[in-house]
């Protein structure tokens, strides 16, 4: 089973410490392409969460049977089978959204976040922990993509949750800025996603630096080294 401390560690790693978008900087291609609004970001993240949870479960269960030398092809086969299921599900249930997300649902197969968690975590840990890892890594990606998508559509068009009617037919997007807002088109284009992602990473580092400074001030210890800014 899973201990409380272990669970908390997995949760914090996924949501904050090892956040896929802000710390591991993985999966930039879907990040740039689908975060033109919050809804798309959330829905692609949900698809990724499903794939990651089940893929982690499958790989963790089979980890002792998979030959080490050919593990990557095996992982990809498992992930590809799951993605096909999710792809067909989206096509059947959320067809309009499926058309918007387009190629990025099938591309979850090659999403390095999925492969990274399968290889780095599920391949070495028991099934329950692996499922939690998949879910929380996915939720970490979800809130980042939702925040980035929300910022981009707010700057780019003054709306929030554009396209929510594709998921919940009754709901309408929020128009937060006046209708004659000209729209910062740059925010909707890939460079805008890079710039805003950079700002989010800076914000995360700032929060951590401040927390570390407060922590060391309480203990009256010398300032700890600055947190890692990025990973190459």
């Amino acid at each position: 089973m899973i201990g409380r401390d272990e669970f908390i560690e997995i949760r914090d790693n996924g949501l904050w410490k090892q956040n896929t978008s802000l710390v591991q900087i993985l999966g930039l291609c879907p990040l740039l392409a689908v975060t033109t609004n919050a809804v798309n970001g959330v829905m692609l993240s949900l698809a990724t969460i499903i794939v990651m949870a089940v893929a982690n479960l499958a790989v963790a269960s089979l980890r002792n049977l998979i030959p080490h030398e050919i593990r990557i092809p095996v992982f990809i086969l498992i992930v590809a089978a799951l993605v096909t299921v999710v792809d067909l599900l989206f096509n059947a249930q959320l067809h309009e959204l499926y058309l918007v997300l387009g190629i990025f649902i099938p591309l979850i197969v090659t999403n390095c976040i999925v492969l990274a968690r399968v290889e780095a975590f599920a391949n070495k840990n028991p099934p329950l922990q692996s499922v939690f890892d998949g879910v929380f890594m996915g939720v970490g990606m979800l809130w980042t993509l939702a925040l980035l998508g929300g910022l981009r559509e707010l700057l780019g068009g003054g709306t929030l949750f554009a396209g929510i009617d594709m998921v919940f037919p009754g709901l309408q997007p929020l128009q937060l800025l006046p209708g004659d807002y000209p729209g910062l088109l740059l925010a909707m284009l890939p460079p805008g996603a890079f710039i805003l992602l950079g700002c989010l990473i800076a914000w995360k580092n700032w929060v951590e630096a401040r927390a570390a400074a407060r922590h060391s001030a309480q203990r009256s210890l010398p300032t700890p080294p600055a947190p890692l800014t990025d990973r190459v």
């Binding site: 000209p182 910062l184 088109l185 740059l186 460079p191 710039i195």
Partner: protein, 339 residues
């Protein structure tokens, strides 16, 4: 200069002095601009200056840097003026403010402030705004549009409606559109001679603004604020490409003189590619940097979708500066560069 070796030559070069001279050198161009368009550009320069100083102060405060030292060095004002001169003169005030803030906050301070920015801030502002607001950024006042001071200020402040006559095309745009619409049936010499938007040797009126920049630039060179390599190479790169295509087919391509005095060519040649921070620093490097920037600017403005290519060309070449500088490092005196 504590690391230099004697004999010493006294040169009075402070950032403030250099920036002040650059501002003075912009004045002939601005004077011609006022003569052509009216006082709107003065208001734009004021808005840009104010926004730049506010943005600079904010970022200096956030970065805990000395406020007075950097606010008075004039570098923010130079950036602001270049942004204002590159933008259409009747842009709404917020467009200028957004451009200037993008230049100061993102392109300058997020990269580490004065002397650290890999890209020319004014050109970043232009690129960001023409990508974000393509319609507003191509609304140049039509020639012969005579608006009173109050009308111009009203348009910039957003109080008066933006009239149709304001959305004229730049000479470069007019030429490109006419050639595209004519589909081979029209030729450049006829267009230049007949259309109202073209003057003696380039765009009507704009040719004198460019001449103003040329005079200011030559004065900067004479004052040894800038060196000749980058501007000369920029003019050379632009003229060479324009000249080859013009010689090959004078019916479809404008002459080099037209291109030199149109758009941002001369402003770019003397005030943008000479940027000591984002440009190349070596003798041969400046030649390569300027030449390629000029050539790329020509390609973008003639074959690309944007009305002018100077900003994108300069930014592209800014990217190459570390590489250029590495390969054009002058040998240490008495040594040979390793092959």
């Amino acid at each position: 200069m504590s690391w230099s070796t004697p004999p010493y030559l006294l040169a009075d070069v402070s950032v403030r002095r250099v920036m002040l001279q650059v501002l003075v050198a912009l004045l002939p161009g601005i004077a011609a601009y006022v003569w052509l368009i009216g006082p709107a550009i003065i208001l734009q320069l004021l808005i840009a200056t104010l926004a730049a100083l506010l943005g600079e102060a904010l970022m200096l405060r956030l970065r805990r840097r000395p406020l007075l030292l950097f606010l008075t060095d004039g570098s923010a004002i130079v950036t602001a003026w270049l942004v204002a001169l590159a933008f259409p003169p009747l842009s709404p005030w917020w467009l200028t403010v957004v451009g200037v803030l993008f230049a100061i906050v993102v392109a300058k301070h997020l990269y580490g402030g004065l002397g650290q920015n890999p890209f020319n801030p004014a050109m970043i502002a232009f690129a960001a705004c023409i990508v974000s607001f393509p319609a507003l950024m191509s609304q140049w006042p039509a020639l012969g549009l005579r608006l009173s001071l109050a009308e111009q200020f009203g348009i910039i402040a957003g109080l008066a409606p933006r009239v149709d006559a304001m959305s004229g095309a730049t000479p470069l745009d007019a030429l490109k559109t006419a050639l595209k619409l004519g589909d081979g049936a029209v030729d450049v010499p006829t267009l230049l001679a007949t259309q109202e938007v073209f003057g003696n040797f380039a765009g009507r009126g704009w040719e004198w603004v460019s001449t103003g920049y040329l005079l200011g630039g030559l004065w900067l060179w004479q004052r040894k604020v800038i060196t000749w390599q980058a501007p000369a190479a920029f003019v050379g790169g632009l003229s060479l490409l324009a000249g080859i295509l013009w010689a090959w087919n004078p019916q479809q391509f404008a002459n080099p003189l037209f291109h030199l005095f149109s758009g941002g060519s001369l402003l770019g040649a003397f005030f943008i590619v000479t940027d000591p921070v984002s440009g190349s620093t070596t003798f041969r490097g400046k030649l390569i940097f300027g030449f390629l920037a000029g050539a790329i600017a020509y390609v973008i403005r003639v074959f690309g979708g944007y009305p002018d290519g100077v900003a994108f060309a300069v930014l592209l070449m800014n990217l190459c500066v570390p590489l250029i500088d590495m390969y054009t490092q002058a040998p240490i005196f008495g040594m040979k560069n390793p092959k």
